[in-house]
Symmetry: D2
Subunit: 229 residues, 4 copies
């Protein structure tokens, strides 16, 4: 794949860059970043106007405010896009849904295989236990994480059937991300925890999503589509 | 229900007794126990020959060696039975399967709702993740537990799809029972833990199973049948 | 010991009652409870005016508003008292300190051996790691718990040296109480968790404290004094 | 410091190399590795005979069989050494103690700050709780780890006062290392877990130890000496 990395200068953009160059399967045509830092092994542009080559897919690890401009360019060029940026609000989700009528878009608040298996598991467990059991969510991230609770915590909450969960969050140290879902019954508790050891899992998931989306019809896709493969 | 408790003098027999008398919904006709301790609020007999009244269901919390005699009597009288005894071997399972051709039998190595939801969850997760992830099981119980690994650990192992798990066990203090299943991938780990706070969950599950089995046809039933209700 | 249980009709009062009668070492002279429920195996009075016998120690599992009246009576009769009621505010702590000039008072937000060993451990760990590591506290209790965060969470926070901790709390199901302290460094995390399997640990601790306080001089004592024995 | 990395081609040797070059504070004179891989940014020799420059300190991440040769060279040249290799047996420990009479040696089965704070904490907790509580150790590592139980698990066991612990170990996936110590009492459990998110913590600790050892007199030092600074 010929990839453009949107938000190439941020933490996730750099991890994705490193992974692509290590695996040496795909090519990064260029990166887009408002701050042209220049220490990455491909051309970096301030915006999409400088992109002239044929792009197979854009992978986005930027920030919510940049989504609108990104989608405008992708629609104009019919380019599939993977949106891995977190902290999206209702307005961004509306824009994404609108754009997905014209181009294939893959969007998830969490690109890891583990979190997505966890979503399916808690959907199943809650359908069995809720009623008799109560549910709660707890998540820990590094102190620089901007959104709290995390988008992943909301993704987990959305997976619950027949019940709601209170979400609590802690921001300390350099923890890449730990999410726990509790099901508390009378005299027994189920505790399901996902521990991220490295942000590489999000880069790996974004690449997997890119391989999927380049062959898809216009529409909005998420991890559920990926796992069915 | 008119219940006979098989193994009434053991730890679980006593917890079940207390629960039935507290809830005051069902009646214990008598208890069977090789050691007639006499401090329980119903007649206790050394064996079934003394049982003359109409029994709706036998709940068994005895030990593996007593299963054969129990089933002989139940078949003779067409009495449904809930087998909650743990540590059964292949021979006991064979006898149970044979008896289930004639009477309704409910058997599970773990009667709790939580463990059974966990079994279904890990079945689902392993079908998604195994291949890329590796699996392990760890369990802790009080030091008086005779079987190690626990029957519940094997129940969890049997639920895994597409993979096997190494089981490790620790026996310390008075821990009622904690089971953990790990799914370890590249840079991420899913950890699913069931914590029993009290053995009451096994008594409650056995009563629930009894309510189910008294209206069932001959056959062998387990928690999967119960959850479908 | 001849014991008066203050708050005998509440959950902890009943657990303490059961433990004392099971162990059969000490005697409950009477219980004090504003709601005279009458199903306990000793006389229950609405207040202390009915207590006429010689009392060795009062064990208090009532509520913060009842502390003042309790201490007034104890001072008048020179009776040692164990205050195990949780959710005390600054005003109650002031009253307790004042009363401790005249009578021996044992007070702790958590009577369990485990929590108190944990307090000492995190005091030690924080003195080594804080500076390079960050700290957070998370606690789970049953949904009927009135104070949030728990008094125990504050007790843990007070034990930290050279750092402060953000406290987060979840209230679900019937969880007796779980407290976790995190120390998050660069690429490593220490997690220390205390799990209460039953409220009996608080009753047991209160009895242990009572045995200690009946032989003490006037003053304010806590778990640190107990562990030094 | 002018450093020689012994075992530079292994996983830890490479992580240490990357850290030293990123921090750019110290210099790697050369690496020693039986397999001369040649893709590291400094000269690599098969053994010490090729080392001619003045060495401030050797940092060893090789394997137990290479310890004897390493120490022979260090004694000859009076060079301080940090031994971070794991899986040492009684014979290696004897050789190290002997060598420490002539040169300063820093040796620990685990170089991380967190594990060493944990050792001190469980030493304290066990001195309070053992007798009434029972202890167990559980550790998880990636499946390529050669020694099982880990040296760190033994380090933790050695820290316990007044009690012993059964050690259980699981080897799955790519888990960098998780160690848990349990203290199980009646109705309560203390669980202390150290999670390594990256092997960088061992490289960082080895560098810290190197800074300490270059100014020390001959003798055998460990993490306890470091923490006292």
């Amino acid at each position: 794949m010929n990839i453009v990395i949107h938000g190439c200068g941020g933490r996730m953009g750099r991890i994705l860059t490193e992974m692509i160059f290590e695996e040496n399967e795909h090519k990064v045509l260029c990166g887009i970043d408002i701050e042209c830092i220049g220490d990455l092994p491909y051309p970096i542009y301030r915006d999409f106007t400088f992109v002239t080559k044929k792009v197979d897919v854009v992978i986005d690890f930027s920030n919510p405010t940049a989504i609108k401009g990104l989608l405008g360019w992708c629609i104009l060029h019919g380019t599939p896009v993977v949106i891995a940026t977190t902290g999206l609000g209702p307005e961004e989700h509306r824009i994404i849904q609108e754009a997905a009528k014209q181009i294939p878009i893959f969007q998830s608040a969490n690109m890891s295989l583990g979190i997505n298996a966890l979503c399916k598991a808690i959907s199943l467990i809650s359908s069995i236990l809720c009623g008799e059991f109560e549910t709660g969510i707890f998540e820990i991230h590094h102190k620089n994480k901007k959104d709290s609770p995390s988008g992943t915590a909301y993704l987990l909450e959305d997976s619950l059937k027949n019940c709601t969960a209170k979400i609590t969050a802690l921001r300390i140290g350099a923890v890449p991300g730990e999410h726990t879902v509790y099901f508390a019954g009378s005299d027994e508790v189920l505790t399901l925890t996902h521990t991220a050891y490295s942000r590489k899992i999000f880069a790996r998931g974004a690449l997997r999503a890119a391989s999927f989306i380049i062959n898809s019809k216009p529409g909005l896709y998420d991890m559920n589509d990926l796992n069915d493969l």
